[in-house]
């Protein structure tokens, strides 16, 4: 049964609290591919969130969990979309245990707020470059790749525990705030990256890191891809400990240089390497890396301090020709495969009349591509291009995820790929954990 205009009223009546709205301007903010929900609910407690889900599950509504909205462009338009279930009001700090370096917060808290709270203890949650507005729950649901993961690890390494409202409205908690917390199946790993398909994450516990004493980065500019990539490979194979390592093509590099206030010319390939630490160790890493870049043909090397948030945006969402990308792809592969693919992808895209800007997150094996909007007559060709690239990378255990796409293209390609072991397990678990298909129906499955 789908919800009608009275859905918000039904929720508020059932909960005895004013948590849901059917106001047109609220619904408009929660559209997905032109589809609007009948209501949007913003519970203030985990118990309310669970109660909303229990009601929706009983009534057969389709519910899309909603954090900060950063993931709205991912996934297909939901098959049923009755309710947007937002975590915006679930934003309290529950525990900051500086002595044990852990933080527990509700899922709607932003990364910026978590870091603001940790800073007086000289600690941080190293999931970004600084003060990102994304919600903690959204970052976990999307299995966000932290830019500084070479030093601090992935989200899987930082996440110690979580509390989830299940599709049928039960509240369950897994993991603990101790570092070695897993007993039984490691359910954190199941909810991490599940895009809200198995439940709504309402609370999270993270391991904190010490705030680095100093941070420094180098941006080397190279005349060609070969030099920048060879320098990245050499740095990756060395005993040096970069916290991040990105190679940017000419187009993506120009965007980053502009965001950093550096002259955009000469237009070359860029290698960005970041380091954290103190005194002598940091200075040595910067000096060695500068020399390494020079050996590989860098024409100039700029020294940078801590990166601004805008730089993170340029790295994650490269903009072809300086314009926001209509189509964003994320490809994963072994690090050494990045070199040929980084040059090949824009070449392939160009044959379809599509411009591409690309970034290689070298230490993570990720290739982030921003592509321009395909001409209306080329949508089928671009869909074929995506499928062919997916086949290429999955043959070597890589992946291709469509992070954002125009609606006509979204309908033609699966956002994650619907073959292989990952998909088999996804279907098996979805059938057990959300048998009525309440959560995000049709978005990824």
């Amino acid at each position: 049964m789908s919800a009608d205009a009275s859905a918000a009223g039904q929720i508020n009546a059932a909960l005895g609290a004013n948590v849901a709205s059917g106001a047109p301007e609220v619904l408009a903010r929660h559209g997905l591919g032109g589809k609007l929900p009948a209501a949007a609910a913003f519970p203030e407690t985990p118990e309310q969130a669970a109660a909303v889900l229990a009601l929706a599950d009983r009534l057969g509504w389709g519910v899309v969990p909603w954090g900060g909205g950063a993931g709205r462009a991912a996934g297909r338009v939901p098959a049923r979309y009755d309710l947007a279930l937002g975590t915006g009001r679930l934003n309290r700090l529950l525990d900051l245990d500086a002595e044990n370096l852990t933080l527990t917060a509700e899922a709607g808290m932003t990364l910026a707020e978590a870091n603001r709270l940790a800073l007086p203890h000289r600690q941080c949650l190293p999931l970004g470059f600084g003060r990102e507005a994304r919600s903690l729950g959204g970052l976990v649901a999307a299995n966000h790749t932290p830019p500084r993961r070479l030093l601090h690890g992935d989200l899987r390494d930082q996440l110690l525990g979580l509390r989830v409202a299940t599709a049928d409205g039960r509240l369950v908690r897994f993991g603990r705030k101790v570092i070695k917390n897993v007993a039984g199946y490691d359910m954190n790993k199941l909810y991490l990256g599940s895009a809200g398909m198995f439940g709504l994450i309402v609370e999270l516990t993270f391991k904190l890191a010490s705030q680095p004493d100093e941070e420094g980065a180098l941006l080397g500019e190279f005349p060609d891809a070969a030099g920048a990539l060879a320098a990245a490979a050499a740095l990756y194979a060395s005993a040096l400990l970069p916290s991040f390592l990105f190679v940017l093509d000419v187009d993506a590099g120009a965007g980053l240089r502009a965001a950093l206030g550096l002259p955009v010319r000469p237009a070359g390939w860029q290698l960005l390497a970041g380091f954290e630490g103190r005194g002598q160790a940091l200075r040595r890493q910067l000096a060695d890396t500068r020399a390494l870049m020079a050996r590989h043909g860098a024409r100039q090397v700029e020294t940078l301090g801590p990166l601004p948030e805008a730089a993170g945006q340029c790295l994650e969402q490269p903009a072809p020709g300086g314009a926001p990308a209509a189509l964003r792809l994320r490809l994963g592969m072994a690090a050494a495969d990045l070199a040929p693919e980084l040059e090949r992808l824009p070449r392939d895209a160009a044959t379809l009349g599509v411009a591409a800007a690309c970034v290689a997150d070298y230490g993570s094996g990720r290739l982030l591509a921003g592509l321009s909007d395909p001409a209306p007559g080329r949508v089928a060709d671009v869909a074929h291009f995506i499928s062919a690239w997916r086949a290429r990378v999955t043959a070597r255990q890589g992946y291709l995820a469509v992070q954002a796409a125009p609606d006509d293209l979204r309908a033609r390609v699966h956002p994650w790929g619907d073959a292989g072991g990952d998909f088999i397990l996804l279907c098996a678990l979805k059938a057990q954990l959300d048998p009525r298909g309440t959560l995000s129906p049709g978005r990824f499955l």
């Binding site: 897994f174 070695k180 890493q285």
Partner: protein, 482 residues
């Protein structure tokens, strides 16, 4: 369904893996009822020793067709009894799948079969001279297999900085209970969807059999410095651990021995600890050479501020090995005094470690047991060791009771019933101390999703009452005894 004749099953297994790779005589079967835990398994139908993924898949399909459970086994060094057969089943021993398939230093990864011994992989990597290693180092690393480490999400001395096995596994090839072979995970970060490889790590062979493992290898650190610090009391050592972490220093390893443990080790290898020492820490720092002296000075200052009696620093790898011997000789020193030592695994918040160890000693004293503790202190991961005589039924009961009470204590302190040894049969009832009925039910949904017929290592991890009677094997631990 009536069980198939044993002979027919053995013959079919022989057709799949070859007659030389099926063990079915009583004496052969008997040894597979044992592992490194204090528990005992039952007799089995047969033991199959496959050499390929295809053979594992065919054994699984045979097991499915005849509804005979399968128990995967590595080197049998697990301490939770997870590899023990608990009823008529086929043991799939993966010892012959022991090839290192690929090493790719440029991608920081290696691909191995599950039967590769952890230490052999490290030596293989060292022999190649690329300057890379596989970090996880459970105490059993000289015999335990990488597949077993994956099954139990094994830890080790260097988890503090580098994480447990799960943190080093990139991808797995798994034979699912229906005989399908699937690949999950991959070499790159940011893979869309749940972390399936992470979910399967630590699932103790209850969701399928892992037949191929892609793991992360890391460049060797430029410098490693090992220190041993002696303290008058346990509380001083524990305060030092908290102090080091609070100062933003992340040692590679931070191990603690309590006074009784030091006494045992001293009797065994004659270290010569001063009598006033009540606890010791082994501190290992690694990283770049530049700035290491500054870090070591800071560590020394924190030790001194917490009344350290003495700090020894190793200047050569040989000296480092000597300092590490205090820790590595811990289990051996206990084996000298008792035929059976119950190695318990639990974790507590780091800042409550001293309080926990004292409470554990008190639990032991109340039950007439002499508890000795060694700990991965940086993680708050404790290993209380309980010597007992398994021939004495009262002693056995006391050891089991102590275990249960220690688990209650750790959970009440905000800790976990296991840090790195897993659940198996040992802690399946204690899992309910950490998780309520709804939580256990959601966990059980994972099992149902992949193994509704309970063919893969049935009746393990989750409390026995959750399983259908046919999947409960030999019954509850207190009935089976230890």
């Amino acid at each position: 369904m009536t069980p198939p004749p044993r002979e027919a099953l053995i013959a079919r297994l022989g057709e799949i893996v070859g007659p030389d790779a099926v063990l079915h005589r009583r004496a052969d079967r008997f040894v597979y009822g044992y592992d490194a835990s204090v528990f005992r398994g039952t007799d089995v139908v047969a033991v199959a020793l496959p050499r390929t993924t295809d053979e594992v898949a065919r054994v699984m399909r045979l097991a499915r067709a005849w509804q005979v459970p399968v128990v995967a086994r590595g080197a049998g060094t697990g301490l939770n009894g997870g590899a023990l057969p608990q009823g008529e089943c086929i043991v799939v021993a993966l010892a012959r799948m022991n090839r290192v398939l690929r090493i790719e230093p440029e991608n920081r990864l290696a691909v191995v079969e599950p039967g590769v011994v952890n230490q052999d992989l490290k030596e293989h990597l060292a022999g190649l001279g690329f300057g890379f290693t596989y970090v996880p180092d459970p105490g059993s690393q000289v015999v335990s297999t990488v597949g077993g480490n994956v099954g139990n999400n094994a830890g080790g001395m260097h988890c503090l900085k580098y994480g447990v096995t799960a943190n080093h596994i990139l991808a797995l090839e798994v034979v699912l209970p229906d005989g399908q072979v699937v690949d999950v995970g991959g070499p790159a970060a940011g893979r869309p969807g749940p972390d399936w490889a992470g979910l399967i790590v630590g699932s103790e062979g209850t969701l399928g059999i892992v037949t191929r493992i892609m793991l992360r290898i890391l460049p060797l650190p430029e410098t490693v410095v090992t220190q041993l610090a002696l303290f008058p009391t346990l509380a001083d050592a524990a305060e030092t651990v908290s102090g080091i972490m609070a100062a933003g220093i992340l040692p590679a390893a931070l191990e603690l021995l309590d006074r009784k443990m030091m006494t045992m080790v001293d009797r065994f290898i004659h270290v010569g600890y001063p009598p006033e020492a009540g606890a010791c820490l082994i501190i290992e720092m690694d990283g770049l050479t530049d700035g290491m002296d500054v870090e070591l000075r800071r560590v020394a200052e924190i030790c001194k501020a917490n009344r350290a009696l003495e700090i020894q620093t190793a200047h050569t790898p040989q000296e480092a090995q000597k300092l590490w011997l205090s820790r590595r000789a811990a289990y051996g020193s206990m084996a000298r005094i008792s035929p059976t030592v119950y190695v318990i695994d639990c974790s507590v918040p780091r800042n409550r470690m001293a309080e926990a160890i004292e409470a554990i000693v008190a639990i032991g004293a109340r039950l007439g047991l002499d508890v000795v503790t060694v700990a991965h202190a940086g993680d708050g991961n404790l290993h209380p060791l309980i010597p007992f005589d398994r021939k004495d039924s009262a002693g056995r009961a006391a050891a089991l009771k102590a275990h249960h009470e220690i688990m209650e204590l750790c959970v009440n302190m905000g800790g976990s019933i296991t840090g790195e040894h897993g659940v198996g049969v040992e802690k399946q009832e204690e899992l309910a101390l950490m998780y309520n009925a709804a939580e256990l039910d959601v966990m059980f949904a994972v099992k149902r999703a992949l193994d509704a017929a309970h063919l893969c290592n049935p009746g393990k991890i989750l409390p026995l009452r959750m399983f259908p009677p046919a999947a409960r094997g030999a019954g509850p631990l207190e009935v089976r005894g230890i």
